[in-house]
Assembly symmetry: C2
């Protein structure tokens, strides 16, 4: 069993690694709200534990052992998110914060019971995939909503949960996973993307549209 801190670092490294190779000290320090020096310290510790490879001044990268643990933590996190939303009716902009606490105290038995109750979900309330118990991560190929051309139609697949405020805003607009969306226009020069969803049209900032991942229809 790992400490909370170790689990948090591994999860953060996994997630940052997904957006491009090695993970820098700075990006981790921002993600975890911790001083860069603290990250270096933990990087050395994790390296000694063989959970990451740490090339000084070059960043860290998970080893297979580290990735395994990261996926377990992420599975806990996303199952808890799903459970909170489904069973307790917690609004989707709050499940992330709660799950950040719960993920560290969830025993395997509780995890299994929640998984049973939920009917073995494969994605959380934000559409993020839930790793299977064996560490398999369902992988779809998705595009950012901001990359679609005018006229294209797609299905919302996943929404970034990094900002509760944003989730609340998207929720008001009806932007949830599994909902169909059509791009009406996409302004040039990093301009807004206008979409039609549930019969309504909305203009989204380019950055916001970048936080929304979509898959092809069907």
């Amino acid at each position: 069993m790992q400490t909370k801190a170790v689990e948090d670092y591994l999860k953060a490294i996994y997630e940052l690694q997904a957006e491009g190779g090695k993970v820098s000290t700075t990006s981790l320090s921002e993600r975890l709200s911790v001083a860069p020096a603290s990250v270096t310290g933990m990087a050395k510790k994790l390296a000694k534990m063989k959970l990451v490879v740490h090339e000084p001044y070059q960043g860290v990268e998970l080893t297979p052992a580290g990735e395994k643990i990261a996926l377990e933590v992420i599975r806990h996190h996303r199952l808890v998110e799903s459970y909170l939303a489904e069973a307790l009716g917690v609004p989707w902009d709050k499940v992330h914060e709660e799950a950040d606490q719960w993920e560290h105290v969830l025993s395997e038995e509780m995890e299994d019971l929640m998984d049973d109750k939920l009917g073995y979900p494969t994605s959380d309330p934000h559409g993020a995939p839930i790793p299977a118990r064996d560490g398999t991560m369902p992988k779809a190929d998705l595009r950012r909503l901001s990359e679609l051309e005018a006229g294209e139609t797609a299905v919302i697949a996943e929404v970034s949960d990094h900002d509760a405020e944003l989730l609340r805003y998207l929720g008001e607009l009806g932007i949830f996973p599994h909902v169909e969306v059509r791009v009406i226009s996409s302004a040039p020069f990093e301009g807004p993307v206008t979409i039609r969803i549930n019969g309504d049209e909305h203009a989204l900032g380019r950055e916001v549209a970048g936080y929304i991942l979509v898959g092809s229809l069907r």
Copy 2:
């Protein structure tokens, strides 16, 4: 917000205090599986925080402020126990251990949601009373099963949850809160107590019978 350690100490002090005035360093060190010297250290810290009164060499006692926090922690603990048993079907000999972890990460919102789902229970799966949000603790006057005379009939009110093994044993015998029990005989010299419950007779060791609290019929 208190640290996990502070919450654990306050809860333990509350529970030990219920069985007789001031709480000794030794009893706390045993309850928390910690060295006596560590207890002294924490006692001083809690005293400085005005959560306990610490008379050196004489033990500690909760202040009103300390008791308030203790009751909040106990409320969390027992609501979680109830929730786990009710909503997730966790067997009663396992809820305590899980709740010990969960009690520290439960936000007020989650507590309220669980409370709603459960219909505002007043006791946990072991029959222990759940403090109200305002800190009011329902108090019944109970006797130990070991104190009943032969021929007396009563209702199981509460069973000690300090030992999972014991709970499993009692569960097999059908000894749960709200079940009616009749004392058939009570052997002298600390001998066993024979009871009839659900139509079956069982002989219980005196110590075991002491862990079972009963209330009068009706």
